[in-house]
């Protein structure tokens, strides 16, 4: 995996795993790699993986069980809503910035549609 030098690695790992939960590479209740194995796979320090896991657990997406490993949460609703949650988050930021640039609602939609279809 290639990491973007400008964003903290543990954040990038969190984003990666969230995307995997969205596209089904990681499913409900599934065991995820151990801290040590994943650190070898990604060629990253184990404490960096642990940081990512700890924050994902705080956000409710995974659960860690001492001695047993870490698992995607059993909370199906939480995983199902993940795509919506993330889309809302980034859309809100984007809309805010576009408003600040002076776009009104309809011109922003027109602009965006053209940009996407281009």
């Amino acid at each position: 995996m290639d990491f973007d030098n400008k964003i903290a690695i543990y954040i990038q790992i969190m984003d990666l795993m969230k995307r995997q939960m969205i596209n089904g590479d990681l499913t409900i209740g599934q065991k995820i790699p151990s801290v040590r194995n994943y650190s070898k796979e990604l060629k990253v320090n184990p404490t960096t993986i642990q940081r990512a896991y700890r924050e994902l657990e705080a956000e409710g997406y995974i659960e860690s069980k001492r001695g047993m490993g870490s698992f995607v949460t059993q909370d199906a609703e939480c995983i199902n809503r993940l795509k919506v949650t993330l889309a809302e988050e980034i859309s809100k930021e984007y809309i805010e910035k576009m408003l600040q640039l002076g776009f009104d609602e309809e011109s922003m939609i027109d602009y965006f549609a053209k940009k996407v279809r281009r």
Copy 2:
């Protein structure tokens, strides 16, 4: 002004001034506040203002004249293009993230339009 803790203050100041250039609060050739005055006004370290001015100058949006202070560039074209430049930049980022979430082009446009009009 309230600063977002997670983004460098000098970046936030640059963004603020760019927005002012777009909406006309800052116009072509206009003198901008001295580093000292602006740092007092924003309650921010002078070196932070200096950094913001330095980078804005490197990007061509302001010019420093020795002994006279700093001014918005005379290059009207540059200011006029600012809105377009920023819009393109943030739109590109947004589209990329939406693609990563699994949206295709049309569903992304639908989603966005609903979100804006809601």
Copy 3:
């Protein structure tokens, strides 16, 4: 049984069994489940049950008889005192924490009574 992620499972099992001794679900001299059976019932690693039994035995609440299994102690006094022992233990901790929060004796009693009756 749902286990609290933050407390060692063997501790939680010990607590469970102590509570059962207090409320009579487990009585003096009664045979308790084998390590194997109990581990299946609770869906827990057998070594975890073993650990719980070992510590309960060290504390005098259960006894292992070779070839016969494990039994609640015959020492009635020990079981009878269990409720008192645990109540003292957790009360001591609680009072200590409330003192650290700045409660004095009477205000702590008032607060507690209101909280319980609420």
Copy 4:
């Protein structure tokens, strides 16, 4: 400072600072020691202090500003409620455990009052 070997140091530091906010040793908006200084004072690794600060920030009790240091939150309400928040938390746990031991409401209050006044 003496640390209890059984509880994570960063947790103990968090508890210490919360108590200081309650008793007024740390007041609203006040600068708290830098990570490095506090680590020297408590003879603890800087990353351990940082972990404590990071979690306190996540809970809303302090704010860290890059290059400027860390500060008790300006949110007076949050600090004012801290004593109540903590008291509720530990009381809820205590009451739950006493119920499990078979105490009813009034007997629990009696028991507690005697224990405190003893």
